[in-house]
Amino acid sequence: MTSRSIKAWLLVAALLLLASVATVAWLNLRGEAPAPQLWREQGAAAPASPAMLEKGAYLARAGNCMGCHTAQGGAEYAGGRGIETPFGVVYAPNLTPDAQTGLGRWTADAFWRALHHGRSQDGRLLYPAFPYPQYTRVEREDADALFAYLQSLAPVHAPARTHQLRFPFDTQAALAVWRALYFRSGEWQLSKGATPEWNRGAYLVQGLGHCAACHSARNAWGGSLEEGLLRGGMMALQDWYAPALGGAHLPRQELVQLLQTGVAPRASASGPMAEVVFRSTQYLSDADLQAMAVYLQSLPAPAPPAVPAARASDAALGAKVYTQHCAQCHGAQGEGRPGAINALAGNRAVNLEDASNVVRMVLQGGYPPATAGNPRPHGMPPFSHRLGDAEIAAVSSFVRQSWGNMAPAVGTIEVYRAREKRRH
């Protein structure tokens, strides 16, 4: 090859590189109008009306901002909680109006850009652990109310913790590529053919509620291209299965009850969903919860599994463990105790094709959230130290294959893995 043709090839390669960088940059910035004002002087915030603050407080509940932006036992909204992702730990920053460490010098424009375009005040791209792929649908008026509410909080001095991400995920370039592939900033579009109730539900579920952040499957890069369908998915690192939300798997009123109180006759909010009910949905109005339920039930129901469920190999052991440890509360026929202990017969969580949640419940037990509608919940004991892997597998299979339940059996190895990976 002559030096001339090498030069030509180098030129082509350089041009290609330039073109991809330009494409990624364009995909990151498209649709973004220049923000009029991103910084403001201290003390210059316009006072918000009580109605606006009340609305903002309600929306902050709907978005469960507090859930990530409050460290365990720490000041509310002052940040510091680490969100574990497959790429490392992302620490939520301080949302209180502290001038040095919080949003004290932010403007409503800057806040809108963060919510809508996923960019920080200084222009940095934000990690999608902050669910802006969903928050991008929040309307400007709501974003402004939310911002006014956050600005009304007592400022807390709490410097941001540095994210602990592995290379190359800690670079803005990698984030830009991710965003080019998986993020589109979007406007909320009313569906003309649907009722106002359905539209309100869709707006809350797809926007602030950010249900898709957990209830949709993700690829190895944490991207999801079908999130609108809420088909369910395994939550990375948490090892909880966030079930599909479409279809009428619960009567509508029971779904509302579940979101409002944390418990319903055949369901209770456990694992990460207990937190969502505890900090968020229990505070939403009846009308909004109804609207969310209407919208969710209008989504397509998940298809039933194609393969018949594998039968348990050790049904006798399962029955024995159930009689010894479970029947006292859940009943000999898995009927539960109304108002106190969930029935297992016909229980959707028990029947999910993925057995993770059943195994987690047996291992760790748990309390549904204490809510205004159910302030003194009954709790399930943990069995991780009382039962071996084979016994937990057998009893999980037993409850999944008795009283009309027809879910695949659970293997000992699945219990072993759940036990080893248990972190939360």
Binding site: G339, H378, F383, R423
Partner: protein, 249 residues
């Protein structure tokens, strides 16, 4: 914290000595007889609501001297309440406890604490001492006298001469396993266990050497429980140091 320091039966299941060492028939008989003796409480009672606790802390929070998990029955309500807050808010670290407490309110946790504080369950006799006489003597001296030279207060100065604790918030020290006592004092020394500041027990534990912790735990775990384990109505004397854990809230 995990359970790896406990023994496993051949079946690979954690269990108490009574069950694992070949007397399941006796246990069953005991369970059946107690079931006959007492009518079951209604399903909306606190007894049902705290079933989640009994798996580790025993029926009515009685625990067992063989097990690791501490007794809850009869401990001062304020102490129990604060410990639940400490788990929930990250001052004490135990994955399982944190998980169970995470989404419960102060009101409900207080009610649970009061439920267990009211349980009057007899204490079993202590296990035989598990250390040499010399070690036990060192432990007893630290518990009863402390060490004035190091400004180390005696345990009995707050926990009472009978070491059954004092209302409203000082816990009893007896009826706990040596492993649990070692683990708690160790956690205070290393900063894994906290209380609200000023955290007197952290300051005290940091003055103890590892052998001293072992001596104190070995001696305490071998003492019988006096006065039914009931805590004193108030501190036995002026508190030797500032301690947020003793203040009423």
């Amino acid at each position: 914290m995990d359970f790896s320091n406990r023994s496993r039966s051949k079946a690979g299941v954690w269990c108490s000595r009574l069950v694992c060492e070949g007397r399941p028939a006796l246990v069953l008989a005991l369970l059946l007889s107690s079931a006959h003796a007492q009518p079951q409480p209604p399903v909306d009672s606190m007894a049902w609501r705290v079933q989640a606790c009994s798996a580790c802390h025993g029926d009515q929070g009685r625990a067992t001297p063989e097990g690791y998990f501490p007794r809850l029955a009869g401990k001062p309500a304020d102490y129990l309440f604060r410990q639940m807050l400490n788990f929930r808010d990250g001052r004490r670290s135990h994955t399982q406890m944190r998980y169970l407490m995470a989404h419960l309110t102060d009101d409900y946790l207080r009610e649970m604490a009061e439920h267990f504080a009211r349980r009057e369950v007899p204490y079993p006799p202590p296990l035989r001492p598990q250390a040499a006489a010399q070690v036990l003597a060192q432990g007893e001296a630290l518990v009863r006298q402390g060490d004035a030279a190091r400004a180390l207060p005696a345990c009995v100065a707050c926990h009472g001469a009978a070491m059954t604790g004092a209302l409203p918030a000082v816990p009893g020290l007896l009826g706990l396993s040596r492993d649990y006592l070692n683990s708690q004092l160790g956690a205070w020394r290393t900063g894994a266990r906290h209380a609200q500041a000023p955290d007197c027990m952290a300051a005290i534990a940091r003055k103890l050497s590892v052998p001293e912790v072992a001596a104190v735990s070995a001696w305490l775990a071998a003492q019988p429980v006096a006065q039914g384990g009931r805590p004193l109505a108030q501190l036995p004397g002026p508190a030797p140091m500032a301690c947020a854990g003793m203040e009423l809230r």
